[in-house]
Symmetry: C2
Subunit: 622 residues, 2 copies
DNA sequence: CTGTCGGCAACCCGCCGACAA
DNA sequence: TTGTCGGCGGGTTGCCGACAG
């Protein structure tokens, strides 16, 4: 069940926590594009255009009471003004900026740690990373032999959790003992889930969770179901849109199924590119296992996903071939989902040790550059509080907080090009420049490390690296040094976090930079992209008789397409889907058994649906 | 999430258990009346008649996977034939009979016990009532010093639960030890919930639960939500009905919110009565606390509940005044919900010790009458298996199993009349006859004890009474002696159970008797009822300035009406409702907090929403 | 620095008959 | 007949430093 953070105080306080847990939201007042096709899936043929330009007129935050799943109710108002802008030509910076206004001031501190087996076992408590404790928790009296204190942290629902925070052991370390296991049990946390502590301006502690895996897919079902089943249903949705009146949908930034709302500037920009067949691209998304990896692929054509009901829609209009044929994703993407890929050699070896990688790839080029090694990340939405006030003190970019835009000292953007290629690791000189561009702007490293770190299951913190200028401790006390991101939302990372070498993060103001980066990138693309559409047909791309042809790939693309449909439609349509999400831990078996309804037996038989529970029960008596 | 009992075997086997847990269903093929007004509440003004005559074309049983909440999906087909019958005049017995056809043969044995504090505490196991164990469990070898065996019982989902069944202690008693607490934990049972063991024809054990209280209201939300939010929504519902094509709704016999489907004969018959103002009536329903009591009241008028959108609807068309002003129910009922009341003195003292009461009220009048002391109960639906083959061996009525109807040897129904009265306990001579009628038919006692027992929180078994004729043990081995009913579904009790003095029950074939009883009653009513409509106006009934007037009853009727609306509409409309049912035990706080959305703060503040949990958490660390 | 482990205490679960309602 | 209790044994929880990666 959902509770609404409707107390004024809690909305105020909970906002940061909510976004820390969920990711960035389209801001109230911002311009977005709504895709009924993506939202309603194949639910019914509607008399609606494929994309609807809207203004976000209301945002309500919600958190599921039992699973802590976060989602928002967005109220969208179809806006002909935006449509007008759209029809008049490519994106203006105006629009981007209006997505980036913000008025929050303070900078909360937070840390996020993926729980280890020890953290979640019954054997002990929670091992707090040193810096996390030092930065987020009230200081202990280290003169005492065994310093300890009581911590109180509120979760999204305003529920208080108390923990004994103790500093002990040899060597000394911070631990949460009493109260911790209760928290783990009540929240049903397992190893791989992440907890998140956040100290707000008043020094109050807030506590959130980000679940690792299955809940995500479960949530998808829930989210989708709610979206469609929202009171009034599809009919009233159509009616609202047709009459240009506001409508409300559910939105979960962490879910790939929430892609049906896209910031206008992103949509607009992506279409200025007209991705050609042959274009190499990369994408970020979460698989079912919540492992987020960077995947590259090749655009092999473009066509309407559903030419009958949604002719001319850009929704998943690009036919693609993935480099990794195991990718459990359809062979279609939307233009705004993907980014041009820089196929440097190292892209095939993504899981290098972070410290090593960092050292190798980003030697300090500028002695003056003592700020974050990892800059901000691209954010879809210029939303919110916690992404503001970034980059202060950084030399590479000056930030004008008055309008939230970045005035580049990079007045001459470097040449960036995206050369279509079929091999794995072609590097052109232009692409080198491209990499250089990232490095010079200070954007590249975050961009890169973010992607790498997102997919890793347990890795949180790259090894600590001494700052060549400021030494060991001071660097981490500044506006962060490394960007540590983990369990990050799907599709596009919404955080702009600059963090210390530990998992400590300081949240800062970066979104405007991010979107500006986007527009720079977009501009570059426009110049450089080579239109190869004419020279490629879909079937030409696939060597006949090779397993790369859809016909011969039952285990990859072909099947994935089916899966795609089955999951997203099936789970969204029926009441089963709603009910499959009652309990966060029961989701897997439940979903399995309900999936059988759509022709796929994901489980062996119906009795396996709660086999674990059943087994333990059956063996309770010997 | 719901699982469907879709394996053929399980439907076959699970049917009995399902009905034991849920109550009787409208049978496939039977005639019912569907009330969109009751189903959709104030959801939207529809272009539908207030009642729609339908045939039940499909029944699918479901059980919630985590809470074990039972409900059914009914597919109804608007049927002009029924409408025709309706328009041609009062009910024929034909229609009743077609609701009672059945082909099931065997008679399962079951018992139902409300869990005590000891049963649910962590301190021990489950104390099995002696006779329940003897009748339902495989026999133990009592020669052993401490006889024990392993029991295996399947629940609604087909999950097996194993228990150690032991016979020990001084004095000896039956206990379930190992495995029991695990069951309690997994099902989240608390004291007041009831468990139900059922031995089917093959001697297999089945195991169900009936929750006591809050889950019920939670389920209401779930049920309602699903009903309305069922894919396609209201619009498609309207469309289906308008085009006379089948539609599917959710139905839970235990819920008062499921009143929107009424057997045709019941509807039809109730309208032949044209309840007049001044008519005394009684009703059975469950309050929020799952306490079901018999309530009496007075019809004070009749008018449309919603004259604008549902003019001429019989839905809650009767304005009533309750004898007990504390009743948490609106001041409106539908004609088919109520029955004429026999205002005998003891009706004001319902919670007499059962054995004492039984002794006092039902002295054996007929030495030949060695069958059940408590006869069958009125059943709305002539459904199913377990209600058949009743009363065999009983002298009062003969049962013809070939067509499921009852041919009365009561060829001369006794005079039954319903004299309007304002006092609490007027007894007319005619009413005495009325009571006598019940007694002579063997219907009265069950009718009575059922009502009494339903509302009691912990009382399950009236004290054991020796059968004056057959002695101690033998009586209970026959077709039952006392009808023990507990935690019985709302509104109209669907069981026809004849039980032993313990909580052991033998399920038997009674429904045809029940409906026949109804028709008898209906016929009587038609003759006897005095039309007093003209002489009473609503405002005349309420003594001005008395607290009986709605205006002066903020704590009873007035407020209750509001509650009524708020709950049923509010919870049905929003996604909150769907999600409020994730966990059976979390339902209360959840519902409370979500109710605030509709303007009612049912809880003190939002933080109290899971106070219990929170408290325990907060105090985990001192 | 921090994940995991063995050691060990305290607690609680759950089986037992006693007792009484 | 059966609900509750004290007794008590055993399993689990959870705090501790040791140790190692």
């Amino acid at each position: 069940m959902m509770i609404d953070l409707n107390s004024a105080v809690d909305v105020e306080e909970g906002m940061e926590l909510w976004e820390a847990c969920a990711g960035a939201l389209p801001k109230r007042g911002s311009s977005v594009v709504y895709f009924p096709q993506g939202h309603l899936q194949h639910l019914s043929a509607l008399d609606l255009p494929p994309h609807i330009f809207c203004r976000v007129v209301d945002v309500k935050l919600h958190a599921d009471h039992t699973s802590d799943e976060v989602f928002a109710q967005l109220t969208l108002l179809p806006d002909t003004q935006i449509e007008l802008k759209w029809s008049q030509g490519p994106v203006g910076t105006q629009i981007e900026q209006d997505d980036c206004i913000d008025d929050k001031t303070f900078t909360p501190q937070m840390f996020c740690k993926t729980l280890t087996a020890s953290d979640t076992s019954t054997h002990g408590g929670f091992s707090v990373p040193r810096r996390a404790a030092e930065d987020c928790f009230p200081p202990l009296d280290y003169k005492q032999q065994r310093p300890s204190q009581e911590l109180v942290a509120k979760d999204l629902h305003g529920i208080q959790w108390k923990f004994k925070h103790i500093y002990r052991g040899q060597p000394r370390r911070h631990l949460l003992t009493t109260g911790w296991s209760s928290f783990v049990n009540k929240k049903k946390l397992v190893s791989g889930d992440a907890v998140l502590f956040l100290k707000n301006g008043e020094g109050e502690l807030r506590l959130g969770i980000r679940r690792a895996s299955q809940v995500r897919s479960g949530s998808t079902a829930l989210g989708s179901a709610i979206q469609q089943l929202n009171y009034g249903g599809v009919a009233s949705l159509v009616k609202s849109i047709s009459s240009k009146s506001a409508f409300t949908i559910c939105y979960n930034p962490r879910l790939i199924s929430s892609e049906f709302i896209v910031p206008f500037y992103k949509f607009s920009k992506s279409l200025t590119l007209t991705f050609s067949a042959g274009t190499r691209f990369k994408i970020r998304f979460e698989t079912d296992e919540a492992v987020e990896r960077r995947h590259c692929g090749l655009v092999i054509g473009m066509s309407d996903l559903d030419p009958i009901r949604w002719p001319g829609s850009k929704w998943r209009s690009l036919l693609v071939r993935w480099d990794d044929l195991d990718i459990t994703r359809g062979n279609r993407v939307s233009p705004w989902e993907i980014e041009p890929c820089s196929p440097v050699t190292r892209s095939s070896n993504l899981v290098l040790p972070a410290s090593k990688r960092t050292r190798t790839i980003f030697p300090p080029e500028n002695a003056d550059y003592s700020g974050p090694r990892d800059g901000p990340v691209v954010s879809d939405f210029g939303e919110s509080a916690i992404f503001q006030k970034v980059l202060q003190g950084q030399e590479m970019l000056s930030f004008d907080s008055s309008n939230g835009s970045v005035h580049g000292q990079i007045h001459q953007p470097p040449e960036v090009s995206f050369v279509p290629g079929f091999g794995d690791s072609r590097i052109s000189t232009i692409e080198s420049n491209h990499g250089d561009f990232f490095r010079r702007t200070g954007l590249y490293s975050s961009y890169e490390s973010c992607k790498v770190l997102q997919g890793q299951e347990t890795i949180v913190c790259p090894s600590y690296r001494k700052d060549p200028v400021l030494g060991d401790k001071s660097s981490s006390r500044r506006n962060g040094s490394y960007n540590i991101l983990q369990g990050i939302p799907a599709q596009v990372h919404p955080y702009a976090l600059v963090s210390s070498p530990s998992s400590m993060m300081t949240i800062q103001q970066t979104s405007s930079v991010a979107s500006d980066f986007c527009s720079l990138l977009g501009a570059e693309r426009e110049h450089m992209v080579t239109d190869m559409r004419a020279s490629f047909g879909v079937s030409d791309i696939y060597p006949r008789n090779s397993q790369a042809h859809p016909k011969y790939m039952p285990n990859s693309l072909g099947q994935d397409m089916m899966k795609d449909n089955q999951n997203e439609i099936g789970l969204a349509q029926l009441p089963y889907a709603i009910q499959s999400c009652k309990d966060s831990r029961d989701l897997v078996p439940t979903c399995k058994s309900s999936c059988r309804l759509f022709g796929f037996s994901l489980s062996e038989g119906r009795h396996t649906s709660n086999n674990e529970e059943t087994q333990s029960q059956i063996h309770a008596f010997m």
